[in-house]
């Protein structure tokens, strides 16, 4: 079935409490870390090959090593719990079921980075999870794992949870820091990077919930052992949140390397497409990654079986590939209208654009508008080229990657499903029937 490094004890009654979590081996990673030097802890994370689990996949150990350490200046570890990428719901699961796992990772990570105060920035919609975390934090303080002189080690740490207010953009690390400072979530120009000037202009590392939680098994088993799991540069296990037209949507912890076909169809995982239907398309890693038609998600363009790894899903670049991203795996069946879905995502990005950069602010608006008229039968052939052109003009011209995130789904949808867009132009009456979906691009099993 595959090792469950994060979720092994998730179904144990009371695992959200300190006592039960401790009984099942909890806080051993902190005890181990406190006996190492901070540099040794960073080294373990480097050896593990852990890549950021929020979506960008940047090597976590490397990110940690970038942290500036000027004398006398406080440093911060900030956990990015702003989970808002459509299709992604694994961090919510982890925090609400295993709050102490995240807290333990935060303590070990803060120690490694030399932080005296650390924060968990959680999206405002998850206030109920904030309360769960606060309760667990209080338990950790009471047990002497937070506060002054943790377990007599001489290391002290305060940990706080901070809510957002409803803004996808605050999942971008610099917008998150702006929000933590009490401002609008407008991303900052980089450089300077948060590692040099982050929260309150002080050196800061921002990591995803799952990345920080994974520090715990890495320390418990050792970075080298962790790196033995997985394939290539995709080491360890990852949480995937599967949704859409599946029989068994939900959270799955996979050793990286499971074949995509097995993940979709096996009863051990998603159990196939619901209602006996055919798979039409997949967005494999959250709405921002390129959509792929069935034949290209199951196999690469070269005909190799695709695996749930960073490298395999990226095989083919954006021409024939996609990205592992956040692990938000959205499956669409044959009744799905790709044009409608693309419009829906474009509406999302337009709504969530912070508005600083003209290409994004105006561009996402145009994408939504033009896709709306294509979906509703008022579009022209020129419109199809127009949205590709607008998407191209957003890419690379913005302060933060929300621009790319808005552009990529549109470019990919037209690249792989152009005939469906054209059908909306040439057959507006059929295309605008309620529930209408173009089936001419389906590769039947």
């Amino acid at each position: 079935m595959g090792r469950k490094l994060l979720t092994e004890h998730v179904n144990v009654e009371g695992i959200e409490t300190f006592a039960v979590y401790r009984k099942h081996g909890g806080y051993r990673a902190v005890e181990k870390a406190l006996k190492m030097t901070p540099e040794e802890v960073v080294e373990e994370v480097k050896k593990s090959g852990l890549r950021g689990r929020g979506g960008a996949g940047f090597p976590t150990g490397l990110k940690w090593s970038f942290l500036a350490k000027p004398e006398g200046v406080p440093r911060y570890l900030v956990c990015n719990a702003d989970e808002s990428e459509p299709g992604t719901f694994k961090d919510r699961f982890l925090m609400s079921k295993l709050p102490h796992l995240l807290i333990e990772g935060m303590i070990a990570g803060s120690y490694a980075l030399g932080a005296r105060t650390s924060y968990i920035y959680i999206r405002g919609e998850l206030l109920y999870v904030l309360r769960i975390l606060e309760k667990a934090i209080a338990e950790a303080y009471a047990a002497g794992f937070l506060g002054e002189n943790i377990q007599g080690s001489g290391y002290s740490l305060d940990l706080h949870v901070h809510p957002g207010g409803g803004a996808y953009i605050c999942g971008e690390e610099t917008a998150l820091l702006e929000s933590l400072e009490g401002k609008r979530g407008n991303p900052r120009n980089k450089p300077p990077f948060p590692a040099v000037q982050g929260l309150y202009a002080r050196p800061t590392v921002v990591n995803n919930v799952e990345s920080i939680a994974t520090v715990v098994p890495i320390l418990n088993m050792g970075g080298d052992e962790y790196a033995k799991i997985g394939v290539g540069k995709s080491t360890g296990t990852k949480l995937f949140s599967a949704c859409g037209h599946l029989n068994k949507p939900g959270i799955y912890e996979l050793e990286l390397g499971v074949p995509v076909e097995e993940f979709i169809y096996s009863d051990e995982y998603c159990g196939g497409i619901w209602k006996g239907r055919e798979l039409k398309a997949v967005v494999a890693g959250g709405s921002s990654v390129p959509i792929l038609p069935k034949e290209l998600i199951l196999k690469t363009a070269a005909g190799e079986n695709r695996l749930m790894t960073y490298e395999s899903l990226s095989d083919g670049g954006f021409v024939t590939g996609t990205m592992l991203g956040s692990g938000g795996f959205i499956a669409m069946d044959e009744t799905t209208c790709i044009v409608k879905n693309t419009w829906n995502f474009s509406r999302f990005y337009h709504h969530e654009s912070c508005g600083q950069c003209s290409p994004c602010r105006e561009g996402t608006g145009w994408l939504e508008k033009v896709l709306h008229r294509l979906e509703h039968g008022h579009g022209s052939m020129h419109d199809i080229d127009l949205i590709v052109s607008v998407a191209k003009q957003i890419e690379g011209n913005t302060i933060c990657p929300l621009g790319e995130a808005a552009a990529w789904p549109v470019a990919a949808a037209v690249r792989h499903f152009r005939d469906e867009f054209e059908w909306h132009v040439t057959h507006p009456k059929e295309a605008t029937q309620p529930g209408a979906a173009y089936r001419g691009n389906l590769v039947m099993a």
Binding site: K135, G165, S241, P249, I330, H351
Partner: protein, 191 residues
Amino acid sequence: MEPTTAPAKPKFSPAAQAEIKRLLTHYPDDRKKSTLLPVLHIAQAEFGGWVSPEVQDLVAETLGLRPIEVYEVSTFYTMFNLKPVGKHVIEICRTGPCMLRGSDELTAHLERITGAEVGGTSPDGVFTLKEVECLAACGFAPVVQVREKYYESLDTEENVNAMLNELRGLVHRPILPWEETGLPTSLQNNY
């Protein structure tokens, strides 16, 4: 029944004031502004589910900020309601994975049942319908949020009715988390 018109000079309850004091200790002394978002959440919960200009001025005064610093934040983040709302604000997720599992149908159904239109309040003042973006509940779509609680798997009439009955049955406003001692608001979710 909580007021839906703005009181002329609102004041935070003692429990809220204590909570704000606690929150201020989380940040450096010269960084009170960091508490703006959590305090706005407190204000919205205390004053009828929305934040009037007077309430926002109260927040500014409490934290030593200029009013504009509060206005620019309250208008940026989608959770803050800037106009009066009904007793229950039903926030319906409308993003892709929920749309794939019937959020459009759910929205139409809720409009019919409650008598409210999206963006507005029902004539009896009980329900306000609001469309929101991805709530991180995609595996249990379609999904709705009311205050802090998530209602998931709303693709059956049974589940929708259970939610509406629960909301209608709330005679008094729910106890605010900082009014309780120690316990988080406990909620039934799929996880």
